[in-house]
Symmetry: C2
Amino acid sequence: MRILIFGGDGYLGWPTAMYFSARGHEVHTVDNYLRRRAHQELHTDSLTPILDSLPARADAWRQVTGYRIGVTEGDLCDWPTVERLFQEFQPETIIHYGEQPSAPYSYISREHAVFTQQNNVISTLNALWAMRDLAPNAHLVKLGTMGEYGTPNIDIEEGYITIQHNGREDRLPFPKLPGSWYHASKVHDSTNIHLGCRVWGLRATDLNQGVVYGIETDESKLDPRFATRFDYDEVFGTALNRFCLQAVIGHPLTVYGAGGQTRGYLNILDTLQCVELASVNPPAEGEFRVFNQFTEQFAINELADIVQRAGADSGLEVTIDHVPNPRVEAEHHYYNAKHSHLLDLGLKPHTLSETLVESVFARIQEHKDRVIGDAIMPRTRWRPLDQVPQSISG
Amino acid sequence: MRILIFGGDGYLGWPTAMYFSARGHEVHTVDNYLRRRAHQELHTDSLTPILDSLPARADAWRQVTGYRIGVTEGDLCDWPTVERLFQEFQPETIIHYGEQPSAPYSYISREHAVFTQQNNVISTLNALWAMRDLAPNAHLVKLGTMGEYGTPNIDIEEGYITIQHNGREDRLPFPKLPGSWYHASKVHDSTNIHLGCRVWGLRATDLNQGVVYGIETDESKLDPRFATRFDYDEVFGTALNRFCLQAVIGHPLTVYGAGGQTRGYLNILDTLQCVELASVNPPAEGEFRVFNQFTEQFAINELADIVQRAGADSGLEVTIDHVPNPRVEAEHHYYNAKHSHLLDLGLKPHTLSETLVESVFARIQEHKDRVIGDAIMPRTRWRPLDQVPQSISG
């Protein structure tokens, strides 16, 4: 399969490129280093050292494995770049990770909110028009987020819900309640992609992904130069990864608020499995398919407890702090999100265990000297400090 | 009330400015003449002659009525412009018509789709950030469209629907199925504004407006220089307005496809009433209120019949043509959209009658010599011509 990977330099994009390349697919990656620049702007960095550029990563990959990963350093909001990629590579599958992926980043300022939405919406619009004119049979595998749904008081279905109303019935897009300008940008993308499928007959899969944890994949283990980035800072770090790092460096785990916030989680190994399952089982012409991509639900307090117990096993003394919640979100709420479609396609979940957490500890230990301590505590607030805090209900 | 009107040079924006000004409100308008430039690009024009600029219109208004309408010629995507407006005018109500308003325009090319979404989403995002920091108690009255909902097979509620599911219940945003990049941009706006209300406690009313018809308001009648624009071309004209013009010039009425497409409609006089009712009855802090703003539902075939009958009364021989539908839309479908909230606030509808259509004929007659005949037939297609047409079901 010819697979074009948008955002191929990222936490998930690079492991995805290696994964498909190792399985004999023809892989081409694109990235404009947005994530690297954002870290420079915020004076943060990946815990793991990563090679300087995507071409350097692809070179190392080829030296060790003999496989070639194609690289374009460019911006997906720039139409000539997108057009040339589609013309020259003629993708059969487009895996789209190429977006600004952080909720806190989108709240830093008006400029950051506008940038997030403009970057994410326009890059995806460009992909849809490129598919229409240059690859009408290709399959767009788009990374969305479980955060598009928010925390409704009913079960979350996979993309659609059948509604009975006043004696009639329809299967309609599941209502969305995003909690940040970033999450809203993904809702906009979903709306746009669905339209492209309905009007132009495009094929797309929206993967509403949960929070990913983990540091290592089968490919990343082969050579230190294959490491993917590992972020733990308040802007780009995800909850469990940050807790693991805090445990290792002796920092209290920073639970935001009451800690009842419940979300879907998955191991980075399962991201790769899911993206592969979606890619090798494309939807029909005109179908906008939505999968909820996670394996287990946890409340933040449960994650903190697991990390604390794993710490005890590893001889780490782990304490838990409830810090004022910088976000506006329900801290106690109903949450039950369906996630059967990928299991039906054959997903074999790697569930979270203390053993896995301990293996993450071990990898973090190796790079402990690289930790930037003052990047951990939350600074970016959803609501300006001079506004009276309000709690919202689930 | 201090009322800031985005898009004050437009078909509805200018009559709204006069309406509030005549009632003693302090009115400031902003426009970047996007609509005038788009007409130049497409070699089309308003049927009614309108003054050259917004300052010229405001000058004429002041000469005749003594009332002052403030003017800023500027782009709402330009933050310094928005910031200065909020700082200097300190609006209590922001009425937001300032968007690219045409579905066909958004399908002309990739550039037009990208421009539409960028322009509409970013101008609204700027408004939300300006409210957050400079006018947290102001009320945003945002013009949305009934087209956000599409044509679901269940009754369309006003913005929210209570869903019972697996033994639980929640009141959630009504699912959206927009049919064009333009309509999708309004869905994005609704998502963003809802988020601004939930997170920052902003007040907003989303007016999901039907298709507006009519040419004259109490204020526009006072002086020929107060005329608002009247578009009949395939890109910016709306269905009933175009049919009236076609009747007058002896062009067959161009019904797209089977003509069973049903939508909500309202008289321009009722747009003014609705916007006033929303403005003088602001929502609570943090409330995102949604009204469906139309007074009657019609299938396109019914509109064509009304115009044909009114034509017969006026001595016009009106024929009806079913032309190939350039759009991708259901041509037979269920449609029942609720619209009680504005009636509850006191809206007194002007319903559509043959008498009203005849009065529109009379005004069109006056400017018959200005008609650009080749702007009427549909040229802009939702789907490229080389794609096999598919019909979609309701």
